[in-house]
């Protein structure tokens, strides 16, 4: 399988994640769609790193996973704090900063 097949799969996953982030109203599902986009980028990194016989892309995937873990911890704590105040995590209710 050539690198282009993997890149195509990753492009489709990224577009699906974009669609989910733009349409869903539940903040946790939006969060999961962001994880989906991060994973599609990871697939791109690993496919290119194999294509170029290099290890740099895989190290980068390592750091992407680190950032995703940190994001999961902080983001979910934010959602719990918000749910405690408003009893919902619907993003249409979270509109204090909207103009």
């Amino acid at each position: 399988m050539s690198v282009y097949h993997y890149l195509t799969v990753s492009a489709i996953l990224f577009a699906l994640g974009t669609y989910g982030v733009l349409t869903r109203r539940n903040a946790i599902v939006i969060f999961m769609c962001i994880e989906l986009m991060l994973n599609s980028v990871n697939l791109t990194f690993i496919a290119l790193s194999r294509h170029l016989n290099s290890l740099d892309g895989q190290i980068f995937v390592f750091f992407v996973m680190t950032v995703a873990a940190a994001e999961a911890a902080v983001g979910l704590a934010l959602m719990i704090a918000f749910f405690r105040n408003r009893e919902t995590i619907d993003v249409e209710e979270i509109n204090l900063l909207k103009w």
Binding site: M1, V3, Y4, H5, Y6, L7, V9, I12, L13, F14, A15, L16, G17, T18, Y19, G20, L22, R24, R25, N26, I28, V29, F31, M32, C33, E35, L36, N39, N42, I46, A47, L48, S49, R50, L52, N53, S54, L55, D56, Q58, I59, F62, F63, M65, T66, A68, A69, A70, E71, A72, A73, V74, L76, A77, M79, I80, A81, F83, T88, I89
Partner: protein, 167 residues
């Protein structure tokens, strides 16, 4: 054989990615996302990156998804599952289709170039993927590694502060 296997796994990946976006209940979305993560781990094995596949299963499917499912359970979102759960479908569909078209355009027309390294399949088989990653991580990428540790520390402190009773 490998081609058929690739298309099969790609089909499962994309269908479960679609289910993440479409499922009404967040729990179903989460389970579909776990399925996607496992399929991506299979891709990593096919790309001669076994350590990355293990990390994918342990960190993503293990740790992060358990955290997300715990939060779904804590927030008890079952009561509002019957409401309308999407908004702006048409514009979002147009935007994501344009993203997809641009990506496919670049993939079809472009040619992958870059600095070639010297990590061959033979080297991965004889020396071991984990060992190669470890060597690169603790020599060439030592500074980003330390910065990542500071990032994780800050994330832990931030999560504890945010989840406390009186913010």
């Amino acid at each position: 054989m490998e081609t058929i296997f690739f298309y099969l796994v790609a089909l499962v990946t994309i269908v479960s990615g679609y289910l993440v976006v479409r499922c009404q209940s967040p729990v179903n979305s989460g389970l579909a996302l776990v399925n996607t993560f496992f399929c991506l781990a299979i891709f990593y094995v096919m790309l001669y990156a076994p350590f990355m596949a293990a990390i994918q299963v342990i960190v993503y499917a293990g740790a992060i998804m358990v955290l997300i499912l715990f939060v779904i359970m804590l927030l008890n979102l079952g009561t509002e599952a019957r409401k309308r759960y999407t908004h702006g479908v048409v514009w979002a569909a147009i935007a994501s289709l344009m993203v997809l078209l641009i990506e496919v355009f670049f993939i079809k027309r472009g040619r992958v170039t870059g600095a070639e390294g010297d990590i061959t399949d033979y080297l991965i088989k004889t020396e071991g993927h984990t060992e190669l990653i470890g060597k690169a991580l603790y020599t060439e990428f030592l500074l980003p590694f330390e910065i990542a540790s500071i990032l994780l520390l800050v994330a832990i402190v931030g999560a504890v502060v945010l989840a406390k009773k009186d913010v």
